[in-house]
């Protein structure tokens, strides 16, 4: 009996190890955000504060990082970007994967190619375009930039997924007289929910912690997003690490929560469907 238990426990060792490696840095961040900067600098690998958890780090982070204002901005910008991106890419990827209109493979490679372009080639022209449209220093402008930036990866993933959808259900519905929109809306859309959940997560995470575009387009303090608040904790010579880690935790937390929420849909969603790899 004991042998089996021991063996069982030993077999779990790699699992525990893997879990630790994956999750440790996250714990490190959260635990260190509750220590004083002095302790972090003197004993970087410690986890506890000798004077109890420093909740003041979070209080300070809240104030210095102007979290109350920036959080709402980030929420608005991210959710808007997410919703619009989903709408745009779902339609496009479905069309490419299901109906394959003339020119679809060129377009597909075009969308995939957007992932291969470096920022230096696109930043200034896009910035100038936003300026000319009078969209600088505004949320709509930022949202537009984020949506534009997110279409490549999303279309790549969704279109591949759409390719592997079974045709029998559509054909059955078509025979029953359903139009193409109907097939899309009622039959296929529910089936691609899992990949949409994946895209939703990637889109949320990508936009929520995006920093550079927010920095160069938004100059009005009332409109800034959360990552910009993080700047206030860092300086060339005198970074307050306790508060910085608290700020980073505040920024990372929503992404984690969104992921945990959406992950159900794509893992369980897959088993409900009858999709082949």
């Amino acid at each position: 009996m004991t042998n089996n238990r021991l063996f069982g426990a030993l077999r779990m060792l790699p699992v525990y190890g893997l879990f630790l490696i994956i999750v440790y840095p996250l714990f490190y961040m959260v635990f260190n955000s509750l220590r004083t900067t002095r302790e972090i600098m003197m004993q970087p690998s410690g986890l506890w504060s000798s004077s109890g958890p420093q909740w003041s780090n979070y209080a300070e982070a809240f104030v210095i990082g102007k979290v109350s204002v920036y959080f709402a901005n980030s929420a608005f910008v991210t959710i808007s970007s997410l919703v619009i991106t989903l709408a745009v890419v779902t339609l496009a990827a479905y069309s490419l994967g299901k109906w394959k209109p003339p020119g679809h493979s060129v377009l597909f490679v075009g969308f995939l190619a957007t992932l291969m372009i470096t920022g230096e080639m696109t930043t200034i022209p896009i910035f100038l375009m936003l300026r000319d449209l009078d969209l600088l220093n505004s949320h709509p402008g930022l949202i537009l930039a984020y949506v534009g930036g997110g279409i490549g990866m999303a279309i790549y993933l969704i279109r591949n997924f759409v390719l592997s959808l079974p045709k029998e259900l559509d054909e059955a519905a078509r025979i029953d007289g359903a139009g193409y929109m109907r097939v899309f809306w009622s039959i296929d859309l529910p089936l691609i929910v899992p990949v949409l959940a994946v895209v939703a997560i990637m889109s949320f995470v990508g936009v929520w912690s995006e920093f550079f575009w927010a920095l160069i387009t938004i100059t009005d303090d009332k409109l800034k997003t959360l990552p910009l608040g993080l700047l206030n904790f860092q300086s060339q010579y005198n970074t307050n690490y306790g508060v910085l880690l608290a700020g980073l935790t505040i920024v990372t937390l929503p992404s984690l929560l969104v992921y945990l929420f959406f992950s159900r849909y794509f893992i369980e969603g897959m088993t409900a469907g009858a999709v082949k790899g």
């Binding site: 900067t37 002095r38 600098m41 003197m42 970087p44 808007s80 919703v83 619009i84 989903l86 709408a87 745009v88 779902t90 930043t123 200034i124 910035f127 100038l128 300026r131 449209l133 009078d134 969209l135 600088l136 505004s138 949320h139 709509p140 402008g141 949202i143 537009l144 809306w185 009622s186 859309l189 529910p190 929910v193 949409l196 550079f212 920095l215 160069i216 100059t219 700047l231 206030n232 904790f233 860092q234 300086s235 060339q236 010579y237 005198n238 970074t239 849909y265 369980e268 969603g269 088993t271 409900a272 469907g273």
Partner: protein, 454 residues
Amino acid sequence: MKKEMGTKSLPMLLKGLLLIGLLLAAACGNNASNEGQQSNAEPDSTNAASNAAPEAVKDPVNLKFLYIWPEYEAIMNETIRLFEEKNPHIQVEPEIVPWDKAIEVMQTKVAANQAPDVSFGWTHWMAPFVNEVDAAMPLDDYLQQDPAWEQSFIRSDLLDISVVNADKPFVSNIPFKLSFQVVIYNKKMFSDHQLEVPQTREQMEQTMEKLAANGIIPLAASGKDGQIDMLKDSFAGMNFVKNGTAQGAWLAGEESYESAEYIEAMELAKQWFSKGFFGKDAFAVGNDEIANLLLTKRAAMILGNNNQIPTLQEQVDDELGAFLFPAAEGLKIQAPLTADGFFVLKTTQYPDEAVEFLKHLTSEEVQKLWASQSKSMPVLQNLNTGDETLDGLIDQIAASATDYPVQKLTYNPAELSKQLQAAFAEYLLNANADVTASAKKMEADHRKAIESSQ
């Protein structure tokens, strides 16, 4: 059954989201035009207000101001408030940018005609803004018209460092607070080991040997952030001055890296490196970790910046001191005249007002404000911070040599310095490296940089 329910309600959610998505897209279009209308409304109201006021003679001026210190936002806002009080028709619009993103942000803004009027710049790093990009406005005329201002600085040649080269000999940057490399040391550790502050480079070497023998890192330095390279360059500079060859090509930064002076500097740096004077794995270590080494008393000295001193002192019980890196025997220390400063962009519509703001920043009132609240080292004469260590440094700077030749590079050193760092690091890290081979590589890159800016 349950699974079916799950997969049916989610599509409903998705359909809803799709609809919202399309609606939002339409709404965003409306918002854009609304925002446009709003921003057009504002200037009208300001003009109306100033036209209504009987005393308003001057047109409202809006100065866009870019700086890099989020930690001093409160002090800067106070500084701006004082300025706006004295100049009611001028509004200063500040923007804070992280110091390591400053160039990218500036570049995007300049390319889009959104450049600030006054921007942060290091006094010794104006070359890109003068040579490559013709962005900095010459300030000589303003200085000449206001001799009191010109001579108010702690050293007469403090302004000189922003004169980039002989082809464009104008002052491009006004210093605001001093920022230079210092050796920060632990006074208690020094007294424990009966050590005095070294006055010459040779004494420094002896001090370091003694510390190393006791298992203490003598002078923690960040190879990653190029500190060892800076030391090597200062050694080379000392050699050139000593040999009397600090002229001609050297003044334009075109001296040969294969020259004896340079090679000797490289070898000295390598000796120190191999003896572990800079700490083990100096290349893996950044500025923050260096500070940690000092705080945990694993290092007795570190190469740091004067702006770090107050914060570091707060974190450790032992008393800290600072001194300028000593010169080789027989030479006087050349004062580091590097500072955080500000320059005016050529594209500004309000050059006079911009310079007024610069004068305000270097006024006694503001310099005192910053010295007392942020412990920054002022650039004016006869001002103290009240901190013993910092004031000692101020005295050293005021009294140091003013007659050293200074290099004015004809090319942009930015990327070159990275390439040199790379070659130099290889030389340091490789036990069998040949110094002449490394020097040759560095000189090749050097020539290329010089050629491509012709």
